[in-house]
Amino acid sequence: MTKKKNNKVLLIGWDAADWKVIDPLIQQGKMPALKGLIDRGVFGKIQTLDPPLSPMLWTSIATGFRADKHGIGGFVEPNPDGTGLRPVTSTSRKVKAIWNILHYHGLKSNVVAWWPSNPAEPINGVMISNHYQVASKPIDEEWELPKGTVHPKSMAEELKEWRVHPNEITLSMTIPFIPNLEKDMELRKAKRTSGVVKVIANASSVHAVSTYLQRNTDWDFMAVYHDAIDHFSHLAMRFHPPRRPEINEKEFDDYKHVVESGYRFQDMMLERTLELIDQDTTVIVVSDHGFHSDHQRPLYIPKEPSGPAVEHSPYGIFVMAGPGIRTGGQRVSGASVLDITPTILAHLDIPIGEDMEGRVLQGVFDEPKINETIPSWELVNGDFGMHDPDLLEDPWQAMDALQQLVDLGYIEEIGEDKLLAVEKAKRENQYYVARNLINGKKWEQAIEILEKIFEESSITRYGQRLAFAYLSTNKLIKCQQMINHLRDLEKESALMEKKEILKKDPNDPFGNKEYEEPMYLEFVEGLLNLKINKPRKALPLLEKVQKKNPANMQVAINIGKINNQRKNYVASAKQFIRALAIDNRNAQAHYGLGISFLRRKMFKEAIDEFFAAIEENFFMPNVHYHLGEAFYRTGYYDESKQAFEVAVRLSPGMARAHKWLVEIYEKHLKDEDKRNAHELFLKQNIKGAVYIVTGIKGSGHEDFMRILDDKGYDIVKNDKIKDLEKGYIISETKKLKENHHWLARQVGKIMYVAPQYLSFLPPDFNYKLIYIQRNFSEVLDGNIQKGGKTNKKQLLPLKTYNLTSKSQEKIEIWIESQPALQLMFIDYSDMMDNSKLILQQLDEFLQ
């Protein structure tokens, strides 16, 4: 297939570039090349994926797929001979990259230093792998190009001379980054200074060879990847002004210019790159994630592989300019790293794979694009300029196969330590893929991976993410159990960890001062407590997390929600504003802030925030509902009616919105027909809320019901039976499946339903569930005694255990199946110890 394009595309990758650093530099005229590009095109933030690890993200940028599909999970993979690990290679990529699709269309591509791209692929054009610029030997020794660095091989000699060795970098090239080098001889020997020199050399190598290719080859698509900004930032962002109190003054003074100079150097290189393109070239500058540069800079690096990624921020940069692209520096929103490949394909009028996880950024084009699609590029056979299929293999599977050969005695035993290292790295890779799946809301796939690797290793990070995945899929009991299990593990290893922390680690970039865990477990536990309506328990946990992770937007939003629930509206506003400082387009934060304004009677401000939330996500019925309420309070009944109408369209069962509409049509708009229609809807469809108490046999729900009865709560009971322990178990619940008309009489009351009958509750009521929980061994002990037969020899009463477990499972399944169920978990021992507090929480829940 041949297809010659007039419109060329130049894709420039700036790892970790962030608007928060760029914006002030542009304002000061220090990044003129990027500014010029923005002015003649469009720009915006680009959302990264989790985990923000570069090989994974740059592969998503080049393919439009997440890690579970593209196969690049982390930084390393096993050596083919099983002797250890090596940097991740291009042969592990399982899908076609954009240059492969362009090759199929007869287009020529130059690809420079993309991560990972070694060995270089046999594309129509030139590929220089990410091993090109790496200097592994001193300058006086032969600096050979590693195998597989250049395609076509015939160009290797011609291209290798453009590499700049770190030893070539002179003082005058380094002084703009570290001015104190001029006088300070000791500073010249510092490890961080050598790091800066190495980054300058690597960036210069990539830039020199790419400008050479620009000038000396024909191409339709060119992709150049620069890691300089990311590396300068990891080396010195903590010294970027303003200085924080915990940063050493001398070091701050020495390295405070590194980041700014890094960006400016990158801009100077961009200027030259742009000089070398013609007017038919569309340019894209993109980063894979941002980098915290302000008060959100972390004060610790988590003690885990890829820990430094905690310095990355969730939004990178995106700039696009050229023929067919809107001009005038207009902002585009909602871009994701997954969108780059589909957008370039659309721009070049090449079909997009329907299986690609990104979308075309329509907002960048001056005329709407009608995209042709095909089911999948992976199903198309032909010449895509890819590696020989024999080379393409899953290295982790290859490692397993290798071990089989060892077991059979065909090859020599691989050292135990090497195998262990490979196993560890394999699990770590799977962990990254699972996180990437969580990020894409592919919960079940993520759970499958995490359950496996956690069972194998008991590594707490894996368990923490698993707990989060359970929480997100409403597997609340499993989530609680995992949290408890992790807490036990934590206690066991507490002493050991303490010793570990005290050990010196040369890789800790913070000089071992701030080496702490990121408190993810507290975060998940806080969210769980929030979900089961225990805001009082959730709040201190989340506040603790926020102290360590001030940049965590989700923590801020959830603390805000708790404060709103507890009517601390000033405190909640602070949290939502904090969240909006991290992402000013977050719909939840705008909504929460709106509620805070509404309840403080600041209606105009509330309306603005609700509109901001709707702009980001229209499909939030609660936002429309509260917008309706805000308009009503200001006397704008027409607008109020419209908002409530949208709310009931989005959520037809929203009884309270129907009630408002009845009120508005009756008292203000005088529209009897419409009033009646909503009244009728309420009569026919919404039969009100019933409060359900449940719990497995032996959990103590009878005690709870007795307390409620004593305190005068309206509970459903059979008055004919005097013994309340049996009286609240009404026989009708057992026949819910056949007849539930009687339920309408129980609206607003608290009723016990045994676990096995929950699934028969009809859908035309709103339910609030109060779930009584008790320590499992206490439940078992109680149930064995109640069974009457005690066999002292029987250590594990299997029958009782199985019955109790099944009963618990029934509750769990029902909870999972309810889309908008409001839940409150009550711990039996909490209830017995402090029933006053529990009843206070119950009152809040029942409101």
Binding site: W162, V164, T170, L171, S172, M173, P176, I200, A203, S204, H207, A208, V209, S210, T211, Y212, R215, F265, M268, M269, E271, R272, T273, L276, Q279
Partner: protein, 54 residues
């Protein structure tokens, strides 16, 4: 696109970030300057040695 005026620069063996930012052309000019400088030094040493021998 506006054509830039030709400006003459003195390229020293110390080089500069500006030269590196020029890409292949800049690297070549800088390395040429280093070679020239080395040659100059070598020539100077040879001449001095010759003079000494004389």
């Amino acid at each position: 696109m506006q054509k830039k005026k030709n400006v003459e620069y003195k390229i020293t063996p110390q080089g500069s970030l500006g030269l590196l930012a020029l890409g292949d052309v800049g690297v070549k000019l800088w390395r040429d300057s280093i070679s020239k400088n080395l040659k100059k030094k070598k020539d100077k040493t040879t001449t001095q040695n010759d003079e000494k021998e004389k």
